[in-house]
């Protein structure tokens, strides 16, 4: 029984860190700031949550503290990426030429 839980923990850890790696890859491959925020912060949120769950399976005594870290990341990560996206848009960071539409800039009276 103990062995199964440990194995599950190991698998969760590998799955989580795979998502972290995908997030890093997205950060390198994506063409502009907004797409990088998309790829970078969210794949890593799921990746971190899975990894923390994996650690909790391997070390059940740490579960409450890991839960606290997980909750904190779940609440703060979207806020920080949102705030950063807004700041990047307000200071007019260059968007990728692929960008098809920008309703926000249109509503603010700028041509996209």
């Amino acid at each position: 029984m103990d062995g199964i839980l440990a194995l599950l923990g190991g698998i969760l850890l590998v799955a989580g860190t795979t998502f972290l790696l995908l997030g890093g890859l997205g950060l390198v491959r994506m063409p502009d700031v907004f797409n990088r925020i998309q790829a970078g912060t969210k794949a890593t949120t799921l990746g971190t949550l899975l990894s923390l769950a994996g650690i909790a399976c391997l070390q059940p005594a740490w579960a409450t503290k890991l839960l606290l870290i997980g909750l904190f990341i779940l609440f703060t990560n979207p806020i920080s990426s949102q705030v950063l996206a807004r700041a990047a848009h307000r200071i007019g960071t260059e968007k990728s030429p692929l960008t098809s539409v920008d309703r926000l800039a249109e509503d603010q009276g700028n041509t996209p």
Partner: protein, 86 residues
């Protein structure tokens, strides 16, 4: 078996750190660097968790928690600074 999985996870996290570090150095805009910094910290939290697991020291998790807290505040402050200066 499980030990191998843990080391595999640590390798993957290390590779992810390198990729984020590349973006952090390359830029090109400030916002790119901030987002790379944010990702570096998030991966760092997992890395600290893995170190805690390998070394069997639960106290390291407190470091991860404080690290998460400081990085969140840091990103918010930098974003605010980008928008209108301090």
């Amino acid at each position: 078996m499980v030990d191998m999985l843990i080391y595999l996870a640590a390798t993957l996290a290390g590779l992810a750190l390198l990729l984020a570090l590349y973006r952090f150095i390359k830029g090109p805009s400030t916002a790119d660097r901030v987002i790379a910094f944010d990702v570096l910290t998030i991966i760092g939290i997992t890395a600290i968790g893995l170190v805690a697991l390998i070394e069997q020291r639960g106290i390291y998790l407190d470091v991860a928690l404080v690290y998460a807290l400081l990085s969140f505040l840091g990103v918010i402050v930098i974003a605010r600074y980008l928008e209108r200066g301090l």
